[in-house]
Amino acid sequence: MSTERSLRAVAAYLVLVAGALVTVAPLVLSALTAVKTPGQFANESSVAAPHPVTLDNFRAVLEQGLGRAVTVTALMTVCITAGQLVVSVMAAYAFAHIAFPGREALFWVYLGTMMVPSAVTLVPLYLMFAKLGWLNTFWALVLPFLFGSPYAIFLLRQYFRAIPGEIIDAARVDGATTLDILVGVVVPMSRPILATLTVITVVSQWNSFMWPLVAASGARWQVLTVATANLQTQYNAQWTLIMAATTLAIAPLVVVFVVFQRQVLRSIAVTGLK
């Protein structure tokens, strides 16, 4: 009985490891292709190990505008993440701890907007930004997402409600302003959920594609995902170059994941990420 069970456990473990290897294989293969010379890629099997290892592909795509795209993407991600966190904390605190007329109704409106798919807002947002003459600007990338997200507000509100009202009242009696309370009490007590939200926002903004594709496809404010998709058509089948671009788009988040694996795994389990 026990040998049978341990045999089964070993078999399950082997299946699990094999599955994990198959899961990461495409990413590993693309990174290996990115460091191959075009000559080796053309003459040998496309799954052969790279020799010599070269960084020329990266150099080439970075010079082709991908370098600028990395900067734009990073800037966009930082701005949106900062904006969303600040605005969402403020709103969630109001919903959780301040009584005002219309609070419940407004909260339901916010919840309702979480159901709106991005495909629905895509065309009207394009129309709005076109009429304002703001297409192909940095603002087009960040404005729609800068002012918080209903999803983040919802998550934070749930968390803030667990903070006892007595702590907040005591601080107010001591003369603390709302800002003091937010910075001194609420934010320090909510570090885990704020870390989770930061991860979610960074990942979803770094990866966002549909809106940047229509709002800022010009060379100046292209983000990394859009630039990668453009290179795909431009460098038709020059796979060593194209894989250098995808590696640049994917690698930073893989590093984030490996460094902050605990937080990220928890973020996925708590929220589903995105």
């Binding site: 890629f41 065309v123 996925i268």
Partner: protein, 286 residues
Amino acid sequence: MDRRRAAVGYALLLPSLVGVGCFLLLPIAVVLWLSVHSWNLLGPIEFSGWDNWRSVLTDRRFGHSILVTLALTAIVVPAQTALGFAVAAMLARRGRGSTVLRVMYALPWMCAPVAVGVVWQWIFAPTGGALNALLGERVEWLSSPALALPAVAAVLVWTNLGYVALFFVAGIRAIPGEILDAGALDGAVGWRRIRWLILPLLRPTMFFVLVTGVLTVFQTFDAVYALTRGGPDHRTDVVGMRIYSEAFEAAHPGRAAVMAVVVFAVMFVITLAQHRYFRERVSHEY
């Protein structure tokens, strides 16, 4: 005093109200407005009554794209849920290296879907692609009408599997040990334990995984854009792709607005139906 409190409340809410108002509620109004106007992205916008609605609702290609999306959802969601559960059942034991394994499985979910799409386009490439190099055969994965949709589905399952598994792992680990021990005394071990103990207890997780699965697959765009652009012969023309091409390639944003409204309605109905179904099942169980 209370008035002042309320004012503080509104002040804190103001920035998010700007965001929700301008970038979520206003676009919904604009999409309805645009659906009865014609525009070519550059010229003037003109009222056109029900023209867009009439032409979209009788448009074979739009109907086809809804069917493609439903087919894709029908392949991907059951596959990723079953595989994700199987992986989770093995992954839930806190064995050696379980964190490393979880990271490996969840990795694709972190990656930009469009970059993932480009990577897989290379893997599926007829010449120089990794898959055909391994198989030693020349198969036209993405350009053959019969294989394109299953290939796209495979990429989506690959992307979502680890994330689905992590949810089930969290659900399984939340089941109190006493319940499993008591079940073991009654002979609930191995497969029987999964079928009669773990699966019923995981109903809420299952609900979440299925609903988010259907909603995300239904909105697929990035991966399809990189893999096939909706081809070959519209075999992978999901609604997200259709709306994009109608608005920005065919330059008929008014028609795309109609499609967006229809998609919104379909997704609303799906969410509601799933809610109903699961609420009944869950309330009967306990």
